[in-house]
Each structure stands twice: as C-alpha cells, then as structure tokens.
C-alpha cells in the first residue's frame, strides 16, 4: 500500500511543489494502478520538462470522495508504458511521446496525436523531419485486408459546416469493422502559448479553446488562477458563472438534440431546436453582450453583473422557453420512427466506458455518475446541485436522453440560482500567483468535465498549463461504438457524442 505517497486534495487547493514527493517510477506505477483499481480515474496526466528529465504528473479523481490524488515521478527518454494495464492513459502517453519525445515502451498503439513538432529540443520518435510541420493525418492507419473489405475515408473536409477531422472506416459491405479517427488539424498550441503567463492574451485564447465551451474553459482557467493566487472569489461571481454555465449547457444540449433529429431526417424537432438554441444564446448575450459568453468570466470574478430587472427578464424568458423546449424535445422522444433510429445504435458498454475513462454525457449514458458539479463543486452556486442524470443503455438514445434530462435539470438549477442570487461584489483583482505551486480545477462543461492544471515557476509565472477537454477522453468511445454498426448510422452516432475537434486539438 503506497497511499501515503499520494497527495490527496480538494480541487481549488494550491499545492507547493516542494511538498510533492517525487516517487521512483516503479512506485509511481504501482500506486497509480492501485488507485485506478480503487475506483479512481485518470483525470489528467502530463509532463513538465526539467533539467534532469521529464517530470510526470498524474491527477486521479475519486469522484464519490470528492477529492483528487496527485502522483509525481520523473522519467528519462523511455519508460515502460502504463497503457497495457490502464487503457485510459493511451492517449495521454501518445501525447507525451509527441510533445517531449519520450517513448512509452510497449504502448500498443503509439501514433502521433496532434501532428506537431516536439516541444523540446529532442528527436521525434517517429523520425519526422523536425524542420517541417508534420502533415496532419500522416500516419499508418489500421487496415483490414480481404475480399469485399473496403475502406472509406471521410474528411478532414466535410460537407457540412463543421470542424475538420479525418475518419477512416474499414467496412465489410455496409458494416463497419473498425473506425480510426485522426484529429489535430486545428492544433494551435494553446498550452504552449500560456507558458510564461498569465499574459493579457491568455483569457482570449482560453475563450477560443473550444468555442462552444467558452464559459466552461474560462471558468476552469479562472478557478486555477484564483487557487494559485489564494483569491477569495465572491459568492455572487460564482453564482453568475454557474448561471452562464447552465445557459451554455442549455444552448448546446438543445442544439445537439436538434442535430440528432436532423441526422435522422425528423424535421419538426430539428427546426424548433435550431430556433430555441438561438434563444438560449441570446440569453447569454443579455448577460454579457456575447452569445457565446465571451468577455463574461475573468480570473477574479465576472465582468458583468445582473441587476434585478435583468434577473426578472431572464426568468420570464426561461418561463416561456422551458415549455417550448420540452414540447420540441418530447415530440421526437415520443415518435416511434425516431426511437427506432436511436435505440440500440452505437452502444458503449459500462465496462468499456469505465476502462476508457469516459466523462460527461457519454459516461452518464453508460451508467457512470460523473458530474463535477456533484462531486467537485466550486463555490456556493454549485453546492446546491444534486440532480445528476444517468442512463444505462449506452446507446444513441441514452446519450440523447441524458441531454434531454440535463436540459430539464439545468432549468431547475437556473431557477434556483436566479432566485437566490447572493448579494455582494462580482470582481476583485487577482494578487500575484504563488511561486512553485500546482493547482487543479474541474468544471462540468456541457460535454463533460474540463480539467485545467497549472504549475508556476519560481517567479509565479505559469510554466506548464495542461487542459483536458472531455473530448480528449471521449473520441475513443465514438470509434468503439461504431464497431459492427451500419456505416450509415455513423452521423447519428457522431452527433450523439457531439465532441469537440478544437477542444481536442488545442
């Protein structure tokens, strides 16, 4: 039992690096696997280069205990891969290999993730030319050989106005045997840009980390900085953030259900949801002038207050929108021809979901209760949250139902928060960040849990910033859910996960 070697903390804590024990790799590995066996999941896993090698940090979440565990070790050029024993780490290890040229020996599926040059001065482990930017998607794809097996490649340019991603299907007739997804086309290097920060531009980069999760990412970022600065954020600011977060969830879930019905050709819900999504976005605009919530959240608080007139206005609008939304959504969940397209399609089993470390809507649809609002609440606004939604079937219908019921829960939460809005200020400037420290923050964005981690250097500047978007965990589940399905059901499966490309690519 190596539990004493772990640092256990609530998120929001600022941990001085000096207090972090550095384990030798064998102990690190043993402790990590032991924790995962004890119902922890890997929330974040990242490296930070130092003079003597690569410092590795693993952040594990114990959801029902509401705390996090931190493990720290140092590796040189290679280390024995943990993926064979802990599948949730597969992408994290690939990411590390691409960023720092560290080879996880024995990784079963070692390929690039985002197609960029190594961040440090080292050899690319795939031998790609360091002078040129690698070509996105340039890797060996899994291939099925044989008579009547054919390969279908979709993207990165798509017919709709969506983000770029490449999907490689191995098909037998109409049946998909394997799907491999290659992303990275939108890699901007946000984590790199944040080093040396917080810069004046940082918050704007975070707002665009995943454009549809602006509130989520800026909230997580602000929480990290506030933790590092030991800042006491005012309750009213938390409440406004929570309102904005729920509005973002509403807009995206309503739009997502509209998208699901568009993909199966069910017109009424598609049209109504398209319109309603706009109405929810307009509510965000009432709050801060931006339909996507840009400019609202800043480290230290929020920039815009709600006066009583605005609270009443928002409440009135929500009172109109709620029955309309219920009507539009229930129209499709009551329609047999729609349910025939949703039920039993794209199933992810609970075991697979657990093993892959899924989060958010995809996890909740597989019966896993994973909701940062419940387990890791931040501030007073979220402590009232007690209605996590779960479904157990793990299919398209379950994911649709999670979103449907989250919409209803969000309405309730919004009503409560708007009614009991704490009084007080909304913003106070941040002090300087604690030097040589680490802080983690979790925020339940509409797709799932966003985890931001920051490490500061001796001057109190950010020396490593790590973002884990829910899409990072969940894309693998989409690939898995397509096995044995009809290729014509891919769009509706894809939409049911509704993952972010740029949130993954960063």
């Amino acid at each position: 039992m190596n539990r004493s070697k772990l640092i256990r903390f609530q998120h929001g804590a600022c941990i001085p690096l000096a207090e972090l024990p550095r384990l030798d790799f064998a102990t690190f590995r043993e402790s990590l696997l032991e924790e995962v066996a004890n119902h922890a999941r890997v929330a974040s896993f990242f490296g930070h280069p130092s003079d003597d090698g690569l410092e590795l940090y693993a952040i594990l979440a114990h959801d029902w205990q509401g705390d996090l565990a931190l493990l720290h070790t140092r590796v040189a050029d290679t280390y024995p891969s943990l993926t064979p024993d802990c599948a949730q780490l597969h992408l994290f290890e690939r990411e590390l290999a691409e960023q720092y040229g560290v080879r996880p020996e024995g990784h079963p599926w070692l390929k690039p993730v985002r197609f960029h040059n190594p961040w440090v001065d080292t050899d690319d482990i795939w031998g790609r030319n360091a002078k040129q930017h690698p070509i996105p998607g340039d890797m060996d794809f899994y291939r099925v050989e044989g008579e009547e097996v054919h390969e279908v490649a979709v993207g990165p340019i798509h017919a709709g106005v969506i983000e770029p991603g490449h999907f490689r299907f191995q098909c037998h007739g109409e049946q998909v045997m394997h799907l491999e997804i290659s992303l990275g086309f939108q890699h901007r290097g946000i984590e790199q840009m944040l080093i040396g920060g917080p810069h004046p531009t940082s918050i704007y980069q975070l707002e665009a980390a995943a454009g549809d999760t602006t509130i989520g990412h800026t909230t997580a970022y602000s929480q990290v900085l506030e933790s590092l600065a030991g800042h006491d954020t005012m309750p009213r600011a938390y409440a406004i953030r929570s309102i904005a977060l729920e509005l973002e969830r509403l807009a995206n879930h309503v739009g997502g259900i509209g998208g699901l019905t568009t993909d199966v050709g069910f017109l009424p819900t598609a049209s109504f949801c398209g319109r309603l999504r706009g109405d929810y976005l307009n509510l965000s605009a009432e709050l801060c002038g931006s339909r996507f919530g840009r400019g609202l959240i800043r480290p230290g608080g929020v920039q815009f207050d709600l006066d009583n007139a605005l609270v009443d206005k928002v409440k009135q609008r929500l009172a109109v929108l709620e029955p309309e939304t219920r009507g539009a959504i229930e129209l499709c969940f009551d329609n047999p021809s729609v349910l025939a397209r949703f039920e039993g399609i794209g199933v992810v089993s609970t075991d697979d979901a657990e093993e892959l470390g899924l989060v958010g809507v995809a996890a909740k649809a597989c019966g896993l209760v994973r909701d940062a609002r419940l387990h890791h609440p931040f501030g007073s606004g979220e402590t009232k949250f007690d209605t996590p939604v779960i479904e157990i079937d793990g299919d398209v219908c379950a994911r649709g139902n999670v979103r449907r019921r989250e919409i209803y829960a969000s309405h309730e939460l919004l009503r409560d928060t708007l009614t009991q809005l704490p009084a007080g200020g909304i913003y106070s400037p941040l002090e300087s960040l604690a030097p040589d420290s680490l802080a983690v923050s979790l925020c339940e964005g509409w797709r799932g849990e966003l985890i931001h981690t920051a490490i500061t250097d001796s001057n109190g500047r950010i020396s490593r910033y790590k973002i884990v978007d829910p899409s990072f965990h969940n894309w693998s589940a989409l690939a898995l859910s397509l096995r044995g399905e009809q290729i014509s059901d891919f769009p509706v499966c894809n939409k049911s996960f509704d993952l972010s490309y740029c949130g993954f690519d960063l």
Binding site: F266, L267, A270, N335
Partner: protein, 308 residues
C-alpha cells in the same frame, strides 16, 4: 391523325416540362410550414435550375464520357417515359402493346447510367451510393411490375393507355377495388423510393455516409447537375402520374379540365409527401430492403386477388 398526335405531344410535354419542378417546391413549402418556417418560394426549384444552367462545367480528370452521359440519360429517360404514360385523363401520345415493360426498363436504363457515372468517379462514397441504389431498385422493380400486371389483368390490355383507361373508375367499385387499394400503396412506396424521399432517403441531408441517391451525384456541377435535378423532378411527375391516375380515375373528356384535375392531384400528392417527410424520421438503411420486400409481397397478393 398527325395533327392530334402533335397536339397531344405538345400538351403532354408542355405540362411535364413546365409543371414538374413545382412539385419539389410544393414539398419544400409543406415541410417549411410544418417546421414553423416561411420557407423557400414555391418557384425556388425553377430559380435553382436557371442558376445552375448559367454556371460552367467542372469535370474531374479521372472521369470519362460515362460520367457525362449520366445526367444526359437521367434527363432523357423521364422525357421518353412521359410519352408512354397517360397524364390523368389525357391519353399518352405514344402507345403500343407491351409499352409498360419499356416504361419500367427505361428507368432501369437511367439507373444504370447514373450508377456507372457514380462509379466512374472512383470515389468510395459514390461507389457506396451506387451499391445502395442498385440494391434497392432491384427490390423495387418487382413491385412495379406486379402492380402493372394487376392493372393489365383488370384492363385486358398491355399498353399503358389501356392499363390506365376509363375502366379504372368501375374497377374501384368492383371487387377488384381491394387490389387497387393495395397497389396504390405499393406504387406510392415505389414513388418515394425512386425519388429518394423520406423515409427511404433524405434529399436534404449533407451526410455522405447516409445518402443513397444524392451521393451518386456529388461530383456533378453546373448545367450537368441542373440536368440531374430537372431529370429528378420529371421522374417524380412521371411516376406521380401513375399514382394520381390510380387515385383519381375520373375524367371529363375535355382536355383542359382533365389537365387541371391531374395537376390538382399531383399537388395534393406533393403535399402528402411533404406531410410524411415532416412527421417521420428516416428508416434505418437495413430496413429499406425489408420494406421493399414487403411491398413486393403486397403486390403479389394483389395480383393473386385479381387472378382468382
């Protein structure tokens, strides 16, 4: 004789060429009203055709003449087929014994060219679409033939003019009415399948992986694409003519009122299609062949009923 043939040809072609795109407009408008939108103007399909005709061609270097033949055949076939089919009370200008077999296989010819044009591009999507289209239409073909056989049995003739002659009205009232009801349903399903409408295909989708017909014409552009769209609306009117004639077997004998009744019937049919598309989701792809086998069985049953 020549004069009446010329008149009949003119009326037939004028009706077909001018009226056909309106049906698409009616469907779109109906769907828009169901969705609570104003929707595109009724005449939008005409504007679209005019716009496409003004554009240039873009041909991939990997394609051959087969690719260019696809749209031409796709437009010529419904034109030829329309001459064999009576438009409501208006008799077909060209008629001979057994023309209904030509009618069925003209569409098979057009499908052959559309599918080969799709394969000619070498795109995996278009290959997939071609495979689906060919599979589904070879299942739709028996339905079409059996329904026409029912009509042939009832009329005692073998030309489409006789098949859809004046006796239909009496036949509805006789005990053959059940058979006619069955084949009306079958023909309507074939109409939806052949014109790639919901619940079998979604003409508005942008998702290549789910498309059947639309994916085969992805690489066509400009006037060639215009010809495909125009061909598609002609096809809908030609196949719709069968359904409408069967559903509204009345005729006055005066060409103008017959033509008006026919057009009203077509518009009602377009509205009906629009309603179906508004209240139903698409079927899962594996369900489509099952449905078509079902209609084949229905039409065989209808044939058995009239053969008793």
């Amino acid at each position: 004789m020549i004069g009446s043939l010329a008149l009949s040809l003119t009326i037939h072609l004028a009706l077909l060429l001018l009226f056909a795109p309106l049906l698409q407009g009616v469907i779109t408008k109906t769907k828009a009203l169901f969705a609570g939108r104003v929707g595109a103007p009724l005449l939008q399909p005409y504007y679209d055709l005019a716009r496409l005709m003004r554009k240039g061609f873009v041909f991939s270097r990997t394609t051959t003449w087969v690719f260019q033949a696809g749209p031409v055949v796709g437009l010529a076939v419904p034109l030829l087929a329309s001459l064999l089919i009576p438009f409501g009370g208006l008799a077909a200008p060209i008629s001979f014994e057994g023309d209904f077999i030509l009618f069925v296989y003209l569409f098979a010819l057009s499908r052959f060219f559309t599918a080969t044009a799709a394969l000619d591009t070498g795109s995996s999507f278009e290959g997939m679409g071609a495979a689906r289209e060919v599979t589904f239409s070879c299942l739709a073909e028996p339905t079409m033939l059996f329904t026409l056989l029912v009509l042939a049995r009832l009329s005692g003739g073998l030309s489409l003019n006789t098949l859809f002659g004046k006796h239909l009205l009496d036949a509805w009232h006789s005990e053959a009415g059940t058979s006619l009801g069955l084949i009306l349903v079958c023909l309507f399903v074939v109409l939806l399948v052949e014109n790639s409408r919901i619940p079998f295909d979604d003409p508005n989708t942008h998702l290549e992986l789910t498309m059947i017909h639309e994916v085969m014409v992805l690489d066509h552009s400009g006037p060639a694409f215009g010809m495909i769209l125009y061909g598609a609306s002609l096809k809908m009117m030609v196949l719709g003519a069968i359904v409408v004639r069967l559903a509204l077997p009345w005729q006055t004998g005066w060409w103008l009122s017959d033509a008006l009744l026919f057009m009203a019937g077509l518009i009602a049919m377009a509205v009906f299609i629009g309603v179906i598309e508004s209240i139903m989701a698409r079927l899962r792809l594996p369900r489509v062949p099952q449905m078509l086998i079902g209609t084949s069985l229905l039409s065989i049953f209808a044939l058995v009923l009239v053969l008793r």
